[in-house]
């Protein structure tokens, strides 16, 4: 479970996130929607422990900044950054050691094959394209075998096959009881994935829905009815 309680974040005098609270239950996929500058990435970075903030963030009932919480937490940032002198395979090995992950060699092979990285294991970090870096970043987060995982705009830069695979992977994670939070403004990409939706604007959560509450309403229609824009 991922719990956000009264989260506020200021950058000097600018209030980027204003007293935000929400919960993504175990095994559910939450999506954080909002236009550019809504505060989605700030929330994601705060959960990942990269920012100072006011309020609380809980991962499986533990403080997000505690070592125990970090051990079961995966993060895919919007802009991946690789170790220039480490190969793709060595990135995975680093994750295995840093998190004491029990992922087996076979599982790594399978993961790599699903994202078409099995022939790129010896490529250095500085030899990868942006799309490939994103795939490695996703694989590294999955190699942790996390119980809670965050994706910040995960589809950007991915090819159609990888997008399809990622969507499938998220559904599988959810079925295994993993809590997933995706921040995006690409509504089409998360249409079939979500269980709970949070719509943000100007640092606040304007509205939240579960899939049951939304019934048959389209995600775009829901989003624009809240944010005041027009559907295409």
């Amino acid at each position: 479970m991922l719990e956000i309680q009264n989260l506020s974040k200021k950058y000097r005098k600018v209030l980027a996130v204003d007293d935000v609270s929400f919960v993504v239950p175990d095994g559910k996929v939450g999506i954080l929607l909002g236009p550019n500058g809504a505060g989605k990435s700030t929330i994601i970075k705060s959960i990942a422990g990269l920012l100072r903030y006011q309020g609380g963030v809980g991962i499986q009932h533990m403080q997000a900044k505690s070592m125990d919480a970090k051990k079961i937490f995966g993060y895919v940032p919007e802009i991946p950054a690789m170790f220039e002198a480490l190969t793709v395979g060595e990135h995975i090995e680093y994750i295995r050691r840093a998190y004491k992950s029990d992922i087996t060699e076979e599982e790594v092979q399978e993961l790599m094959a699903r994202f078409e990285l099995d022939d790129k294991l010896d490529k250095m970090g500085n030899e990868l394209s942006k799309g490939m870096m994103q795939k490695v970043s996703i694989c590294c987060a999955l190699a942790i075998k996390p119980q809670v995982i965050l994706f910040d705009e995960p589809m950007i830069g991915l090819d159609p096959k990888a997008i399809k695979e990622l969507k499938l992977m998220i559904t599988e994670l959810s079925n295994k009881g993993v809590t997933v939070l995706i921040s995006t403004h690409m509504l089409d990409m998360v249409k079939e994935l979500w269980d709970v939706m949070f719509i943000m604007e100007k640092g606040k959560i304007l509205s939240s829905f579960t899939r049951e509450e939304a019934a048959d309403r389209d995600i775009e229609e829901l989003f624009f009815s809240i944010t005041g824009g027009k559907t295409s």
């Binding site: 990942a48 422990g49 990269l50 920012l51 100072r52 900044k65 070592m67 125990d68 970090k70 051990k71 937490f73 993060y75 940032p77 802009i79 991946p80 950054a81 690789m82 170790f83 220039e84 002198a85 480490l86 190969t87 060595e90 990135h91 090995e93 680093y94 994750i95 050691r97 840093a98 998190y99 250095m124 970090g125 970043s137 590294c140």
Partner: protein
């Protein structure tokens, strides 16, 4: 922790393997070894000439380095900017289950290695050039490496990782450090002007009880004096205080709570540093990392189309700059001009014969050569796809991309030549020719840069391109001097001067035409 060790180990092995596969590594290595040998062979003469070849001399050098580096390091740590985290560290290390204090140590390890090498070097230099007993220098190596690193690392963790200090407190700490430096500078000035108007003022300053009593900074100097010179009551007391402060800070940081609040600042600095590094790779200089550049409001009327538009766009960009087209090179030229005028005033012999006419061109050539690593706005044009899409010839694109640089060098040339030339009483024709020659040299430098981009592209790194550029310029300047000397001998100095200008212009034109291929397709750059 094993993850962090793994990163270090693999990074080192992979980088080493990659470097060994590149032939250029061996060239750089050979240059490095030759450079070091030359440096070490000159050390003895240099230290003797500066009256430093004694234990006191080494103490002076070490103390000055402490005075310079320790406060600046502390200030950057307090601002959480001293450690160079990479975006990959932010992505993979900050979010991993590693204690934030260990993450600080992970980056500081590089510093330990440098410190180990520097301490080792000083130990060897101390024995070889400063006539210090081997056992003393070994003791210095062991103790200074341990105590100084324990103290500096503890202070670094304390300043970075402390989550109790508010932003105001940190600012106050920085201000007090600046104040301390200010007081020390004033004291040094007082000693220099009032007591000892010579280089020995430095020794008097470092020997002064007031300086050695300054917490941490002065105690460190006393610690060095005790190890290398001889014990005195003052340096023993200050050394004890120094060691106690190292132990005290160590205990404090071990007990201190740190949840990683500094990650936010470190992440911002990592991004800013990466941006500055990328700019540096392209030859741009960033003086203040992380500071958003402010632009003025400006407008420009485009009086031409196609490649000419590049010139007007650059003009608009310069108009938005705080100092328009004037940059650091203008200041350098002005200072050089004043220095030359002063030198001529002090030594009237400099204003006679050939020297009178070639002093300013020589200074211009020196400035051009020394600042040859600095690229200007034109180089950005090669990264812009629109430059290549403009329907015009590569030569015209090159011409208009670099036109504003010629205007800049005209202004810089005037600033360099006119004040000194008027003082020296040079004829008008020689003044004009000196300015023109400076422009030619600058243009030559610029087009050699373009040519090295066009010829080398990604084959060699920036260092390789700089070497090619400098070699080309050096050859051109040497030949220009030969041409000028030859013509001067057979006719007169003014004709020699003119011949040099014509030669420089012709060579520049050839280099420009050769370099214009860089503007034909983006792939080259």
């Amino acid at each position: 922790m094993s993850g962090l060790i793994y990163i270090y180990k693999r990074t080192f092995i992979n980088r080493l393997k990659k470097a060994l596969r590149k032939p250029v590594t061996y060239v750089y290595l050979a240059f490095g070894i030759i450079y070091l040998l030359m440096m070490f062979s000159g050390f003895g003469t240099m230290f003797s000439a500066w009256n430093l070849a004694s234990p006191q001399g080494l103490v002076t050098i070490l103390s000055v380095s402490v005075l310079f580096f320790l406060p600046t390091n502390m200030i950057t740590y307090a601002k959480r900017k001293g450690l160079l985290f990479l975006p990959s560290d932010v992505h993979f290390v900050f979010t991993s289950p590693v204690q934030p204090k260990l993450v600080l140590l992970y980056v500081q390890v590089k510093q330990f290695l440098i410190s180990f090498l520097v301490s080792g070097l000083f130990t060897w230099v101390g024995v070889s050039y400063f006539k210090i007993a081997v056992w003393k220098m070994i003791l210095y190596f062991l103790l200074s490496f341990i105590v100084e690193n324990v103290l500096e690392t503890s202070l670094m963790i304390f300043l970075y990782g402390n989550e109790r200090f508010s932003e105001k407190t940190v600012k106050a700490m920085c201000k007090s450090l600046y104040l301390m430096i200010g007081v020390l500078v004033l004291f040094a000035g007082y000693l220099y002007f009032v007591q000892e108007k010579s280089f020995t003022a430095v020794e008097v300053f470092l020997n002064h009880p007031f300086v050695q009593c300054v917490p941490i900074l002065g105690w460190n100097i006393a610690f060095i004096r005790l190890l290398i010179l001889e014990p005195t009551t003052l340096n023993v007391i200050c050394t004890v205080l120094y060691c106690l402060s190292a132990a005290g800070f160590l205990i404090t940081v071990v007990k201190m709570k740190c949840t990683g609040d500094y990650y936010e600042d470190a992440m911002k600095f990592a991004d800013d540093y990466q941006e500055a590094r990328n700019k540096q790779k392209k030859g741009e200089t960033t003086f203040r990392i992380g500071r958003m550049k402010k632009f003025k409001k400006a407008s420009v009327t485009y009086k031409g189309s196609y490649a000419k538009a590049i010139f007007y766009r650059q003009l608009l960009e310069y108009k938005k700059q705080r100092f328009f087209i004037f940059g650091s090179s203008t200041i350098v030229c002005l200072i050089a001009s004043i220095v030359i005028a002063y030198a001529v005033y002090q030594t009237p012999d400099m204003n006679t014969g050939m020297m009178k006419y070639f002093l300013l061109p020589g200074a211009g050539a020196y400035i051009t050569f020394m600042f040859s690593g600095y690229l200007t706005r034109w180089s950005k044009e090669l990264e812009n796809p629109y430059t290549f899409l403009i329907p015009d010839t590569p030569l015209r694109k090159l011409m208009y991309s670099t036109l504003i640089e010629h205007i800049r060098s005209l202004i810089d040339g005037c600033v360099l030549v006119i004040p000194a030339a008027v003082f020296m009483g040079l004829p008008l024709l020689n003044i004009i020719l000196a300015i023109f020659l400076y422009m030619c040299l600058q243009a030559n430098k610029l087009y050699f840069s373009v040519l090295s981009e066009a010829v080398l592209g990604d084959v060699l790194g920036n260092t390789g391109k700089t070497i090619l550029r400098m070699a080309g310029q050096m050859l051109m300047i040497t030949l220009a001097v030969i041409v000028a000397a030859a013509v001067s001998i057979f006719s007169n100095i003014t004709w020699g001067f003119l011949a040099m200008c014509i030669y420089a212009l012709v060579v520049t034109a050839f280099v420009a035409v050769g370099g214009s291929t860089a503007f034909s397709k983006m792939e080259v750059s």
